[in-house]
C-alpha cells in the first residue's frame, strides 16, 4: 500500500465528490495530508474541481461525519487484516523461539520460500491456489526442518551459547538471500490474474477483497488449530514441556529432538502460509519480501512477549491497526516507524510483553 489509504478510498468510493475531497484533505477533523504526498488522482481531482476557491458551500456537517465514520471503519478493517498477516507471520516465529530458544533469523526466508513455491505451482504447474497454498506451506516447513537440523541442532547439542545460534542463522540468512537473488533476480513476480476470485464482500460500510478474507479466515483457522494442538494434544504437551524446561522434559521421557523438529516444521508451515497469503494480497513477490516482514515480526514478538503465542496474535493485530491509523491520520511516512516505536516503548515499560507476567530476570 504505497498510496495514501484515505485518499484512495475517497477517490474510489465517492466518485465525483471533489468538493468533499478537498475539504476532507485540508480541513476536516485532524486529517492532514501534505499536498505532495497525496496521490495524483486526488491532486488532479482537487485542482480540476470547481470548488477550489469556495470549499463545499452547501454540504451539511452530517455528510462529513458519516464519511469520516465509514472511512474509520474501513481503516480499522484494513488495519485488522494487516494485523492478521503480522500475527500469522509472528505466530511461527514466536513458537520457534519459545520451543527452540533460538532467535532464528532465517525465519523470514521460509516466508519467501513459501510464496515463491506457491507462485511456481500456480504459474508453471498451473495448479489452483487451493493446492498451491499447502504446497508452499509444506516446502517452507521442510526447509525449516532442514536448516534447523543442519545448523542449529549441532549447536544445541554442543550447548553453545545462545548468541552463537543467533550468529549462525544471521550468516545463513545472508547466504540464502544472496544465493536466491543471484539465482532469481530481484524483480517483482506476480500471481496470474484470476488466481483468486475478484469479488469483494461488503459489510455495511466496509469492503474486503477475496485475498483479505482469505487472510483473516486462514489466520483464524491457524490460531485456533495451534491453540488446540498446544492445549489438547500430547504433542502440544510435549512442545510446551520442552519450551518450559528441556532437561526436565527429557527426564519425563519426552522425545526432545523429535519435538524440536516438530516445532521447526510447524513454524515453517506457518511462515509458508503467511508468505503465500501476503504474496496474494500484495501480489508482489520478490526474494527480500521476507526481510521486510522480519522487521515487523521482531516488533510483534517483542510487543507480545518472546515465545508467547497469545501475545503474538494480540500484538500483531495491534501493530496492524496502529500502522494503518498512523498512515491514515498522521502521515504515510510515519507508518514504517510505528513498529520500532511500539517495540522500544514495550521494552522500556513492560519487557515481558503485552500479556506477559512480570518476571525479575529472563537470564
Amino acid at each position: 500500500m504505497t498510496e495514501h489509504p484515505i485518499s484512495i478510498i475517497l477517490a474510489k468510493y465517492l466518485p465525483g465528490s471533489v468538493r468533499l475531497l478537498s475539504v476532507t484533505l485540508s480541513r476536516a477533523d485532524g486529517v492532514r495530508i501534505p499536498h505532495r504526498r497525496r496521490p495524483a488522482v486526488v491532486r488532479e481531482a482537487r485542482w480540476s474541481g470547481s470548488g477550489r476557491s469556495r470549499q463545499s458551500p452547501g454540504l451539511p456537517l452530517a455528510v462529513h461525519l458519516r464519511t469520516l465514520r465509514s472511512m474509520f471503519a474501513q481503516q480499522l478493517a484494513n488495519g485488522l487484516v494487516l494485523g492478521a498477516t503480522y500475527a500469522l507471520f509472528a505466530l511461527g516465529f514466536t513458537l520457534m523461539f519459545g520451543v527452540l530458544k533460538v532467535l532464528n533469523l532465517t525465519y523470514g526466508f521460509y516466508f519467501t520460500a513459501g510464496a515463491l513455491v506457491a507462485l511456481a505451482a500456480c504459474r508453471t504447474l498451473g495448479l489452483s491456489i487451493w493446492l498451491a497454498l499447502p504446497l508452499g506451506m509444506l516446502a517452507a516447513g521442510v526447509l525449516a526442518v532442514i536448516i534447523d537440523t543442519a545448523l542449529l541442532t549441532p549447536l544445541r547439542r554442543a550447548r553453545a551459547p545462545e548468541l552463537s545460534s543467533l550468529m549462525v542463522t544471521l550468516g545463513a540468512v545472508l547466504l540464502l538471500y544472496s544465493l536466491l537473488s543471484m539465482g532469481l533476480g530481484t524483480e517483482i513476480r506476480r500471481f496470474p490474474i484470476g488466481t483468486l476470485p475478484g469479488a469483494a464482500l461488503t459489510f455495511g460500510e466496509v469492503r474486503l477483497g477475496a485475498a483479505q478474507i482469505l487472510i483473516v479466515v486462514t489466520t483464524a483457522i491457524m490460531v485456533i488449530g495451534l491453540w488446540l494442538l498446544l492445549s489438547r494434544t500430547r504433542l502440544g504437551l510435549a512442545l510446551r514441556a520442552v519450551a518450559e524446561n528441556e532437561d526436565a522434559a527429557r527426564l519425563m521421557a519426552i522425545n526432545v529432538p523429535r519435538t524440536e523438529m516438530l516445532a521447526s516444521l510447524l513454524s515453517g508451515l506457518l511462515a509458508g502460509a503467511a508468505g503465500v497469503l501476503i504474496g496474494l494480497n500484495q501480489n508482489a513477490i520478490q526474494p527480500y519480501m521476507g526481510e521486510f516482514m522480519m522487521l515487523r515480526g521482531f516488533a510483534v514478538i517483542i510487543i507480545g512477549g518472546l515465545g508467547d503465542v497469545r501475545g503474538a496474535v494480540a500484538a500483531g493485530l495491534l501493530l496492524g491497526v496502529a500502522e494503518v491509523m498512523a498512515a491514515g491520520y498522521i502521515d504515510s511516512m510515519v507508518k514504517d516507524g510505528v513498529a520500532f516505536t511500539l517495540m522500544v516503548l514495550v521494552l522500556w515499560l513492560k519487557p515481558s510483553g503485552l500479556l506477559g507476567r512480570a518476571r525479575v530476570t529472563r537470564a
Binding site: 551459547p161 550468529m167 545463513a172 519487557p351
Partner: protein, 282 residues
Amino acid sequence: MPVWLDDVLWTYQTLIHSLGINGLLALSMYVVLAVGQLSLGQAAFMGLGAYTGALLSLHTGLPFALVLAGSALVPALAAALIGLPTLRLTGVYLAIATIGLGEVLRVVYVNAEITGGALGLSGIRDRTDSWMILALLGAALAGCFLVGRSRFGRAMEAMRSDQTAAAVIGINLPAYHLGALLASAALAGLAGALSAHSSTFISPNEYAFENAVTILSFAILGGTGSPLGPVIGALVLTALPELLRPLHDFRGVFNGLIIVLVVLFLPRGLLPWRMKRLGGAP
C-alpha cells in the same frame, strides 16, 4: 618518512582508508562481543556517525576533531536509548532492538529533507588522510588492549565465559554491558564519520542490515579472544574482495558462509588467542 612508504600510501589510499575504517568497525563489534552481547546495529551506529559528521562539516565550520567527537556522541546517545531497557534482559533483546534501530533510521534518512533523501549527501570535503585513520585505529586498538588488561577487562572476560558466575562474584553486568555498547556505538560512529569524509558522499543504503552482518563477519572470522583478531578479520575480508575480483560479486554469499562455517567449526575464530598470553597479566 621514507619516500616509498609515502608512495604506497598514496597509491593504495582508498584501500588503506577502507582497511582502517573497517578495522575500527570490527573493533566496535569486538567491544560488544567481549561482554557476551550481540549488537546488529553497528551499521546503524556507523550511519548515524556518518550523517552527523557530514551535516556538521557541511553546515558548520567546526574543526574536524570536534566533528569527529560529535559523530561519536550521537550514536552513543542512540545506543543508550535502546541499550538501557534491553541490557537488563537476555542478549536476544539487544540484537532485535538494534536491528530495528537500523531499519527505522534508514526510513528517516530516506524521508527527511536534511539528510538528502534517498540520494544522500554529497560534496562532503575530504578532511581525512591515511595517517589520521591509521592513528585512530591504533589508538582504539591500544585502548582495547589497555582496558582488556585492567580490572574491567578481567570482569569482561569473566562475564563472557559465564554470565551467572560473573554476576555472583559481584560484577555489575548491566553497567558493563551498557558501557561496552556505548563505547561500541561511539567507535562505529567515528568510523562512519571517517568513511563519510573519505568517500565524500553518503547514502542511506550504505548502512543497511547487510552491512551490519558484514561487520559481524569481520569480528567472527578473526575471533574475539583479543582485539587484534577482529582487526585482522577486517583486513582479510576487506583486502580479499579487492584482490580476487570474482569474490566481489559473491560477497554476500561469501560473508554469510564465513559466519556459518566459523561459528559451527571454529567457535573461537581464526586467531584463538587469549588476552592473557599477549598481555601478561594473569
